[in-house]
Amino acid sequence: MTLAIPSSTLNKMLNAMIPAGADDADLYLQHSQSESMALEEGRVKHVSSSTHQGIGARVVKGEAAGHAYTDRLEPAALMEAATAARTIAEGKQNNAPVAIHSSKPAHALYRPENPAMAASMHERKNLLERLDTLARGIDPRVVQVFANVSASFSDIHIIRMDGAHLHDARPLVRLNISVVVEQDGRRETGGAGGGGRFGLDRMLQGEEAERLTREAVRIALLNLDAVAAPAGPMPVVLGPGWPGILLHEAIGHGLEGDFNRKGTSAFAGRIGEQVAAKGITVVDDGTISERRGSLNFDDEGTDTHRTVLIEDGILTGYLQDKQNARLMGMAPTGNGRRESYAHPVLPRMTNTFMLAGHDTPDDILASLERGIYAVNFGGGQVDITSGKFVFTTSEAYLVENGEIKAPVKGATLIGDGPSVLKKVSMIGNDLALDPGVGTCGKDGQSVPVGVGLPTIRIDELIVGGAEI
């Protein structure tokens, strides 16, 4: 683990930036390399790469935090950043020398290797061309194919206030396919994607890339027959996997420590209360091997955990970084995350999912007299204060008397976070995690996350279709 900056300089920065009475401080050095290759109109013609390196200096005291970063790794710029980070606190600097020493993380959840190295650019190009051919061969109505493969590798060093030095090397890959189909002048799209913290070779082997391509074409063709979704309150059955975005929006954000410490979340002060139907258990687990939302330790150097948020319907925990945990008298949960050295730390989710129940997916669907069966979604959003959240279907069906009647166009579903899980009346035995596509946005920062869900029935959500 080589550092781009001599440890004597880091030592000097650390000593200069820690004010008297500081609760926390750290340096975050990052070198990240991303490569992306995209195919459109039958050609691989967008190849790009980006390299970011820099250092973030952070000081935390009470409820305040100072953060300064610089891309210029020269001594003067580094000391300027260190000085700027401590402007939140008055008082003399702490001159007690800190010795930087290596510290071992608890987990090794992914291989610390650049995932791009596992597949040459030629191999990636061949893959994209193969998927293009495959998609067009499935159905002549496929008129456009977009395929993108990307890999990033982030090398991170965290030097904590006590001098503990942690190192992580985080791989992340992603494959995305989307197609446009056309029939009688009507155009529709469909898409699919997958990825995780592993080498790119994984996307090249096996049938996953082919499966995603078939999935994208299937959804697009299905949409050619989609009718306007109904409008109004009705029961909704969510399929397994990515529909877990419901949990991410409806409860996950509302349970982040910062909002609860400040009392701005609809979930503030509700620990111990019943916020979901009996039988519902929801966890956030950053320790699942090779998952997109997993980390060996969070961006403050805290080991990641499996945190139970809701147990058998009762609210049991929040997602915490160090600052909010300390201010709330709780333990950090390994959820302090930042997009990069250029961003401040916030409590964020990792992989958030509901544990399986006992109902079969068939029984759950059969219970639906008239409603929506939604198996795939686009993005979602939440207002954590009012608790209202939305997520938008990308594959959904109108169901009557337990039978699928017709695919429906994308519709936004809206609900109330603190009450929606009380309306869950059936929980499937088919828990699945999403294929590795989630990106969560908060305060302008994007971080990779995962979600998961078994098939569930929600007795009522408002469906925002265009059909009255």
Partner: protein, 460 residues
């Protein structure tokens, strides 16, 4: 500083040519700034940024079945040391050689660049302003939050007020010898507060962003607006759905021209990814509508003299008397569409060119909002939209909303947990009223917009 960046971008173009690129263009940027957030009268965070980076796009000639063609690739780095730059050039050349030639690829050489005289005149006219320092920004944030919190006893909590200021410096150079640099300052102030408790809690915010701190609205005014907006939401509940007229406040109406721009993006049109792909010249809006893109507006944050390919930017009337005048095109899209580049090439440090506007203005109407509500009688005023339920290929639209019920020509009560749905093509055509309240949001300006016949879903 900007001259240093300009030299850097020119140096990169030279290095690329020496490495075998037949064409190249490069950008160099430096971003500096600070933001100070206060909450309950105390500093909550101070953030300082000091970013730099360079981006390089190269074109190489490759043999194809039809002769030769140009293939390209792009790369960026924040490491501007000599080693960093050399590595960047090596990487980007390798990638370009793997990339597939496109017969329509157009290098930036020979774009309709602004003249040196125009560049100088622009720099002289567009001065930067750095009137805020950390302390001044902090004071503005404190004043702003205090105005919000002291506005009413019903304000129960604060998400704080934030003041930020910064400078971005950008240089661009292309292989035909064009090189230019500019700098832009900005300042922003916002506040967000909470009213009510438990299930009835509501939050809203107010903000402003300008080229100079002096041009911002008064901190007190922003704070008061945040509180007013929050208080009026108290007691919100859902409502009965149905077909009705939906009125978009300027804050949310800004999304309407945004959806138009995505759909008339020349590249999306080429790839059949737009529901407006066959609508050039057609009346897609009512006759009274005019939408312009103005790259040199005294109010706008999006001013620019040239775009991401060095093409001189000029004002464009995108919608004239309701008709779509044309698609927005970079050099590549223009060649394939058989049109001229419109100066809308937008590029970051890495990746391909995308399409972006400068200052997008949906021109105001002549009616007061009060008058519009009176004419509509019954409907919904939307003040916040959430979610991403817009399909650019089909125009299908479905989003979460909150706002106010309009009854008998007046706002009657706050509503939430509802959705509004329709199809953008119909929504554009069914705009019935434009307010006289043109409001700027950074680089776009819109008035209140009313649309008839949308579907609202809720639970009365």
């Amino acid at each position: 500083m900007t001259s240093h960046l300009q030299t850097l971008s020119q140096q990169l173009v030279e290095m690329a040519k020496i490495s075998g690129a037949c064409e190249a263009d490069a950008m160099a940027v430096a971003d500096t700034g600070e933001s100070i957030r206060v909450r309950n009268g105390k500093v909550e965070s101070v953030e300082r940024e000091d970013a730099q980076g360079v981006g390089l796009r190269v074109f190489v000639e490759q043999a194809t079945a039809q002769g030769t063609g140009l293939a390209f690739a792009s790369a960026s780095t924040s490491d501007v040391s000599e080693t960093g730059l050399k590595l960047l050039v090596k990487q980007v050349m390798e990638m370009a050689r793997i990339s597939e030639p496109d017969p329509d690829a157009v290098p930036p050489t020979g774009a309709n660049h602004p003249t040196r005289k125009e560049l100088d005149a622009w720099t002289e006219r567009h001065t930067v302003d750095a009137s805020w320092n950390t302390e001044a920004a902090k004071q503005a944030a404190l004043t702003c939050e205090d105005a919000a919190l002291s506005f009413s006893d019903k304000i129960t909590n604060s998400e704080g007020a934030e003041a930020g200021f910064g400078m971005v410096r950008v240089a661009y150079a292309s292989a035909d010898g064009f090189a230019a640099a500019y700098e832009k300052s900005s300042a922003a102030l916002s506040a967000s507060v909470i009213a009510g408790a438990g299930d009835g809690m509501q939050r809203d915010y107010a903000w402003d962003r300008k080229r100079s701190a002096n041009a911002l609205r008064a901190p007190e005014a922003i704070g008061r607006e945040a509180s007013e907006r929050t208080l009026r939401r108290l007691g919100a509940s859902s409502m009965d759905g149905g077909a009705m007229t939906v009125v978009f406040e300027p804050r949310v109406a800004a999304s309407i021209p945004g959806h138009l721009i995505s759909a008339i993006n020349g590249r999306a049109v080429l790839q059949q990814r737009s529901f407006l792909a066959d609508q050039k010249g057609k009346h897609i809006f009512p006759d009274f509508m005019r939408i312009v893109d103005d790259p040199d507006h005294p109010q706008g944050l999006g001013n620019r003299l040239f775009d991401g390919e060095g093409t001189r930017c000029r004002p464009m009337t995108i919608i004239d008397h309701g008709a779509l005048s044309g698609f927005l095109a970079d050099r590549y899209a223009a060649r394939r569409l058989g049109s001229t580049p419109t100066g809308h090439a937008s590029r970051g440090l890495t990746g391909d060119i995308s399409i972006g506007t400068s200052n997008l203005i949906l021109e105001a109407g002549h009616q007061t909002v009060e008058n519009i509500l009176h004419e509509i009688g019954n409907g919904l005023l939307v003040t916040e939209l959430i979610g991403f339920g817009v399909n650019g290929v089909t125009g299908d639209y479905s989003r979460g909303a909150s706002g106010f019920l309009i009854e008998n020509g007046k706002l009657s009560r706050p509503v939430q947990e509802i959705t509004i749905a329709g199809n953008l093509k119909d929504m554009f055509a069914n705009i019935s009223h434009l307010g006289d309240d043109l409001t700027w949001f950074g680089s776009s300006a819109v008035p209140t917009v009313a649309i008839t016949g949308m579907t609202v879903a809720g639970q009365g």
